[in-house]
Symmetry: C2
Subunit: 357 residues, 2 copies
């Protein structure tokens, strides 16, 4: 088992990476303070792993569960309310702990429920997808979607601990493995050229679920992300780099209807669009663009937006992005390969060429 | 104009108390950072004061408004969503500022919308009721109700400033003036015997809306509260004293259906119940109980719970209180007149006598 620490002062927490962590009673005991535990999972993950969690929590805790429907389209205020219903129905108090067992949607919703229930209770992340292990379980961003924009309602709320069990990737559908690889590639593109080269050399092993390759990719991604988050917890500056590909990707997700494209698929195409615009601005070479597109494609991800969205609608959807400040759209682009920047200094006509139409 | 400061380090903020503050353009300009302003009000307050706010914000800002229905029964996730709708519909970004124009319900909901929109934006409180001026606009508690419990969903989120315009009390219905006086009396009972005696001497003037008396009561209440909040922002300990009367009162509000009893009416009866139980425990004298009941009654408030609720249901409703820890109910009671404590050390049989049945 590897242990990373996200260094956030009195909110610092460990990320455990290894096999058989989901059922490790000692890890839960180390972090849970009170006696009340609410496990939040979904209809896909619960049949696979809930029993192991409940077994690990056996004895000493009062454990309740709430099982939500599976999918980004259920990451809403309405479904969030089911967690509050369960907590209040069980009369859980401020010392209760929530356990998020599932992918990014479960983690984000459980985290926001923990941030807002009685104005804040503790929670533990048990991410079961590659995407949530490398990304959404690290950094404390929690929230739900709104019909007009992704993750528009939420809070910063750090977990007590993250248990990233690499064994859970065995049951992950191919499409979701690819979606997770999008976020892995992202860390290379932001500012880790060495990791990007490693991914070019090892993408076939990752897609074939080589355990060592996956464990290394998870650890390196979490390390890269933890460093950025520790430097800028509330996204005043540098942290926005983690949104490389996301402004484009969110527009695709929102425009196509939540759940049609996976988040990672949107990010995959979005990173290629960011590289495309960076190339049009003359900031990266045509070979850099080609390397980006090739690696994203080898991960099993789309490299272009859905044609049916159209340029006007795409720009419209991008305008609600959280990085917009006083009406000015800012994007994460590359000035040099694997050197991402947040900038409003791009040509609007070239952006239009990138989004199509 | 008097100015108090709530001392919370880098989240410190001023409370302005005086007349004609609602339309004071300079005060808004001093605190609003970006160019986007969303004024949130309700159907009762907006016709009275919205124009003055809009006039003060004229020029330089892009101002939008959202008008909610008036009443505690609308302090829900569903109605909160209308604020998000308005913000996203207007494409407001992270630098926007929300202005809460109204009573405690508007303040709590606007504050929670500000806490959670894009994971946190700024807001300014413009409380227009006595209750919100002395209580809910100070301290950063925000949130909405759930059918199973009051204020169960929320966040701690401090405003940039509070503009308490005493002129707005001229239009306040008698019943709401009384509700506000409940919170004023509360500060005396918690730990300010001198203020309690002042209230006994001046209650008739307050009920008659004497301006000087009201201004003094607001300033003293805010000072008392700001001191407690500064010492314990997240309610780890001492801050819970501010809930004197509230566990009983919330049970009444929830049990009767939100909106049937005003919050302050519940607190009024709740303080008398807390005094009753304190007396039954032998912690205050019969004369102290009589003084409490008399002052609450003179403020125009109920001193006993509604008979139809019944003892069993009452205890049931109290069990979801946020001060419950690991299943143990804690109450704010008095050990000595005007000396409140948080304690689980009361006799369950005596509590049953207090709640009736």
């Amino acid at each position: 088992m590897r242990i990373l620490t996200v260094d956030l002062g009195d909110r610092a927490y460990p990320i455990y990476i290894g096999t058989d962590l989901i059922g490790d009673a000692e890890l839960y005991r180390r972090h849970i303070g009170g006696r009340q535990v609410m496990v939040v999972s979904n209809e896909t993950v619960a049949p696979l792993y809930l029993d192991r969690v409940l077994h690990a929590l056996g004895g000493g805790y009062r454990v309740e569960t709430v099982i939500l429907p599976d999918g980004e389209q259920y990451k809403t205020l309405e479904v969030l309310n089911r967690i509050y219903d369960a907590l209040l129905g069980a009369r859980f108090d401020r010392r209760c702990t929530l356990v998020a067992l599932g992918g990014g949607v479960i983690g984000d919703m459980t985290g926001f429920a923990a941030a807002s229930y009685q104005r804040g209770v503790n929670f533990i992340q048990v991410p079961t997808t590659l995407l949530s292990q490398v990304d959404s379980s690290v950094g404390g961003k929690t929230g739900v979607n709104h019909p007009l924009g992704k993750n528009m309602i939420g809070a910063f709320h750090q977990p007590l601990a993250v248990l990233a069990d690499t064994g859970s990737l065995d049951t992950l559908p191919d499409r979701e493995l690819s979606a997770g690889l999008a976020e892995v590639i992202k860390y290379g593109l932001i500012n880790d050229a060495e990791f990007f080269a490693w991914l070019e050399a090892n993408m076939d092993a990752l897609v074939a679920r080589d355990r060592d390759a996956l464990a290394y990719a998870i650890e390196r991604s979490c390390t890269d992300k933890a460093r950025v988050v520790a430097a800028d917890e509330k996204e005043a500056g540098q942290r926005a780099l983690l949104n490389l590909g996301h402004t484009f990707g969110h527009a695709i997700e929102t425009g196509m209807g939540y759940g049609a494209w996976l988040h990672g698929e949107g990010v995959g195409a979005g990173m290629c669009m960011a590289a495309d615009l960076s190339h049009r601005m003359g900031w990266i070479g045509v070979d850099d663009l080609a390397r980006t597109n090739a690696l994203v494609a080898r991960a099993g991800l789309p490299t272009t937006p859905p044609a049916e969205l159209g340029g006007d609608r795409f720009l419209d959807l991008m305008a609600v992005d959280k990085k917009v400040l006083d009406g000015q759209l800012r994007l994460v682009l590359m000035k040099g390969m694997c050197q991402a920047v947040v900038t409003a200094d791009f040509d609007a006509d070239k952006l239009r060429e990138t989004v199509g139409g």
